[in-house]
Every structure is written in C-alpha cells, then in structure tokens.
Amino acid sequence: MPGLEVQGVAKTFGKTPVVDHVSFQVAHGDFVCFLGPSGCGKTTLLRLIAGLEIPSAGRIVLDDIDITARAPCERSFGMVFQSLALFPHLNVEDNVGYSLRLRDGNRRARRERVEELLELVRLPGMAKRAVSQLSGGQRQRVAIARALAQEPRILLMDEPFSALDAKLREEMQVEIRQLQQKLKITTILVTHDQREAMTLADTVLVIAHGRIEQMGAPLDIYRNPANKFVATFIGSSNLIEVEVTGADRVRFGDHTIEVASIPAAALPGAAATLSVRPENILVNRLASGHSGGLSGTITFIRDFGSTIEARIDCGGREIITVSPSAQWDGMQASDRVGLQFAADACRVLPP
C-alpha cells in the first residue's frame, strides 16, 4: 500500500515502554492527528516516524520501502517542533531557505522559492526580518514555511499551536487545514487538544499509555467510542455501570434503558458501561403522579445562553446533560425531572 505504514513499532526508554507495539497506516494526502494526554507517547511516536528516535522493535515503511534505519536527513519529512526550533542566528529568509541551501547553490532560485513560501503562509516581504522581531503567530508561520521548503513527503507537527493564545490558535488551525488541503500534503499532527484533533483531522489516533485506543474519523470516534477512555477523552460522556438484560436493553438500578445495539460479546447478565453524551439526554419536567422512567433532582445549572448544562442526581449517580435553551422548560435547581436517553446514541462499552 502506498503511504506510510507503521508496523509493530515499539520504543522503550530504559525499562519503561513509551510506545507499545503500534501499527497503523496513513494514506497519501491524509491529515492524521495523534491525540492523547501528556506522557502518552504521542510525541515519541512522531519522533520515531521522523527518525529522531530509533525504534526498539518494528518497522516504518514509506511507499513499500523500509525506512526504519534511515537517518532523519535522508527521510525528507518536514517537521514543525513544539518549540518551533527556529534558528536564532538566521533571519527569516535563511531559516526558510535552510534546506534549500543544503541542496544547491542557486541563490536567486532559492530567494524566489523562499518568497513563494512566505506568500503561502501569508508573510510576504518579511524575508529580511530577524526571528526575534516576529510575533508568536509569525514565528509559527515561518516554522511551517521552513518545514515545507524541501517539499517534504510528509509534514510532521508536534503540538505546533500550544504556545499561541486561544484566538490565534483557532485561526492557525483553520489556516493549516486550508494549506494542507491546497497542497494535498500528508500531515501528521500531535496534540492533546481534542477540539484541535476533531476540527483538523481526517483520521484521529487516540493514544494512551503508548497504545492506540481507537483510530478513525473524528465523528465516528465521537459517536462510537471504543472504550471508557475514549468516551471521556473525546468530548464528555456520562459513564453508567449497567447490567445487560437483553439484545437491546440494559438495566440501571431499577430502570431499563433501551439501546440501539449491544456488542455480541456482552451476554445477558454481564456487567457493562453505558456511555451517553450529555446532549443526547432529553430532560423534561416531571408531571405529578408520574411513575416509571428514569428521574432525578437537578443539583446545579449552568446557563451558557445557547445551551443549558444541568447536573442531575439520579439515585446517587450524577448525570450531566446539555440541552438547547429553546427546549428547556424553565426548570430550576432542586426540581424533580425525568430523563430520556436517545436509544441510538447510547453505547454499551466493556465495563
């Protein structure tokens, strides 16, 4: 298969396994995010791909050629580092043109290419500036232009936006996605920010403890989390311990909850975890004399204007709901409410 293949790659520092026999493939032109909490091994995985670390086991294959033993300088992968690693002794032009200068000596061609790259990252006419004169966002763009200068086969980015403030970060995210689509360059980006991964990537790899917990399109992962870790790490989720009672139902306390499907491995009587997103729970005012159905008492309300978040105590278990304001029936804290879970949004996960 053309593209990047990572086959059973592992890395241990001393005795600690940091990347634990990971395998996946990236097709050409894809935008892939490695998403995970800090210390999960995602940066090490990226460095293994870049050749900056040598794997303890496994192979890295690019277009059917084994590149595991190749030095970073022989891989032609552009990389944007977390610290950006711009050369402080060189100006913008020499930073961006660094890889070009290593290749051939044609100064004019190099200058034109640098100017072209600076246009691309929307920094025209900045070639002669010193790196220290640039703002955070401008440095970011220089780092991206520099990584793109050698027309890399893969662009690798290690938390590139972590140093930017929230507004600039969002702008840069949109910009990098547009740039990637325009150039159709295979890109791997490491982040711990699930919003960043969701908005940028074609494919997200959720990583924890050096292993891939789930790989897929962002919305698929959001809708069908593979396990409890993914359910809570991507967005927020109510995790409820339940007992499987039938082919499409589980029991929570005295209540039966209908779900769309149950994994084949979960036999009736087995313990399981029900994952339901806060926005998939319908909250309504409890009519007097109501019986049956799941109910609880509101303990806390946060009104965001467009949505309302409520914390509801259901027999000692807290359930968080998010409802559109238009559907909120003026309920207040300490009101009794009924809850309905949308059956097709309920996921039954291993306990």
């Binding site: 970073p72 300088c73 552009g78 580092f81 690693a85 002794h89 890889s99 290593l102």
Partner: protein, 298 residues
C-alpha cells in the same frame, strides 16, 4: 538566543538603580575607588620605570629616556620572542578550543548528575598550581618512567627517550592548563542551546556533522571568542612551562623579562619589555574581539 537576552536586559541599569536606596549610586562608587587605584598605580609606576635610563634599579630614578624602547625595536631576540609568544598562545588557544568544544558538547548531552561531576572535577583541577602541573608533565615526558615507555610497549618506539624539552611539550602542558577554563566558559552557552535546533536541521536534510557546524557553532560564536581570548591570555603570560619543558628558543617574553629584571638587574629594560608586550597583546585581543563581535548578536 542572547539577542533576546539583550532585549530583556536593555533597561538593566535603570532596574539596578531602582533596587538601590535614594543616593545609593554612591554606594557603588567605593569599590571602584579601591579597585581603580590598585590597578592604575602599579601600572603608572611600571610606565615610569620603563622610561628611566638603563641600569637603574629603583622605581622613580634615572630620569626620562626612550632608549629602552628604541633599543627593543632593534632587539631581534626580544622581537623573536614576542612573535613566538603570540604564535604559541594562539596555537594553544585554538588547540584547546578544538578539544574543548566537542568535549563540552558531549558533557551537555549527559545526565544532570554526570554534568555536575565533570564540572566539579574540572574546577578542582584549577586549584592545582601551574608549577606542580609542569613538573608532573616533565615526569610524564621523562625517559625512565615517562610516556615514551608506553610507546615502546606499543612497538611505536624502539627504545625509551626523553620527550622534553621541546615545543610540543610546552604546547601540551599549556593546553592542559587552559582546558578547565575553556570548558567552563563554553558550558553555559552550550547547555542553553535547544537540542531541537540541531534536530530541526537534520529533518531539513543536514547530516549531524553539518547540523553541528551550521547551527551549534554559529550560535556559540561569542562564547568561542571569549574562550579563545581567555586561553590566549593565560598562555601568553606563561612562564614555568616554557622554562621547564622548552628549549631557550621556546622561551616566552615572560622569561626574558624576568631574566632582564632579576638576573641582569635592569629594571627599566624589563618594564619596557612588559609595556611593549602588553601593547602587542592588547592589539591581538582587540582584533579578536572586533572580529568576534561583528554581525548580528547571537
């Protein structure tokens, strides 16, 4: 790197002033009042003595005469020795830099603990006296128990021989003396360099060697100049090592000065030698600093 530092410290004098109580700047004057005379007075006495007629022993006697200087201008032995001292010091400075630069880089890649052990060791060697080190080298280069016996054992020499006195013994000993200074001067700058800079160069197609020379070395430009200057000055004033490990051809100006002053009792000539040599050294240092400080600060 330090261009940012420079920007940060641009208002340092202003900030320092704010730290002091009102009128506190006066507090800063008294150390200067002590230091300046202690530097200036001996130097003035030296200058004065160098202008006395040859042969006068005591300071402040002997009238005024430029004879000492004009004599030196035609003194081949002295001019040769000045030239030799400058070349020797430059050679020692460059050699020690070539050894210490990669060595310091290697130390900065170690664990924190190992770094501390190395730095403490280097600091400790500074406390050894130049005289003792020189005699240790003399023993090491001697015929009976020295290094040549190792070469014989390795079949590189047919029989043991004495490896001193000669030029290389002097250079080796002086390089040994300046290595701790060089490492300690290079270490702070080197340890502040982000390792990702060299990695970034490698991802852009530079071999590790190329990355080292195109990124690390230019970033270390100022520490390199400081290190060269320091080694140069330590080596140029050397006295014991050339005396013990060198032949008379390898005697530095310091030896000639001491012979003129102590053996021949000609203080005016010795002081004139010092002043002339001081001027030559200052000229070389000035050139080095100008070259090193040029371009964008790094």
């Amino acid at each position: 790197m330090s261009s940012i530092d420079n920007a940060e410290f641009a208002d340092a004098p202003e900030r320092a002033r704010r730290l002091l109580p009102p009128g506190g700047s006066l507090l800063l004057i008294w150390p200067a009042c002590v230091i300046v005379p202690f530097f200036v007075v001996p130097f003035v006495l030296l200058l004065r003595a160098s202008l006395a007629r040859p042969g006068f022993g005591a300071l402040g006697e002997g009238g005024f005469d430029l004879q000492n200087y004009t004599g030196l201008a035609g003194d081949r032995a002295f001019l040769g020795s000045v030239g030799f001292s400058l070349v020797l010091a430059a050679g020692v400075a460059v050699t020690s830099l070539c050894l210490c630069f990669p060595f310091t880089f290697w130390i900065t890649r170690m664990s924190r603990r190992a770094q501390v052990v190395w730095l403490v060791f280097l600091l400790t060697t500074l406390s050894l006296s130049e005289v003792l080190i020189t005699f240790a080298w003399q023993v090491m280069l001697a015929k009976r128990i020295g290094f040549s016996n190792v070469l014989v054992w390795l079949h590189l020499l047919p029989e043991p021989e004495s490896l001193s006195p000669n030029l290389w013994a002097v250079v080796a000993c002086l390089v040994y003396l300046v290595i701790p200074f060089s490492v300690l001067l290079l270490f702070p700058g080197m340890s502040r360099i982000d390792p990702q800079l060299a990695e970034a160069a490698q991802t852009m197609g530079a071999s590790p060697m190329r990355a080292f020379f195109s990124v690390i070395v230019p970033l270390m430009r100022r520490p390199i100049v400081t290190c060269l200057l320091m080694s140069f000055i330590v080596a140029i004033g050397s006295y014991v090592a050339p005396l013990v490990l060198g032949r008379p051809e390898q005697w530095t100006v310091a030896i000639l000065i001491s012979r003129a002053a102590l053996d021949a009792g000609n203080l005016p000539l010795a002081t004139a030698m010092s002043v002339a040599f001081l001027a030559a050294t200052a000229l070389v240092c000035g050139i080095l600093l100008t070259l090193g400080g040029r371009g964008r600060p790094t």
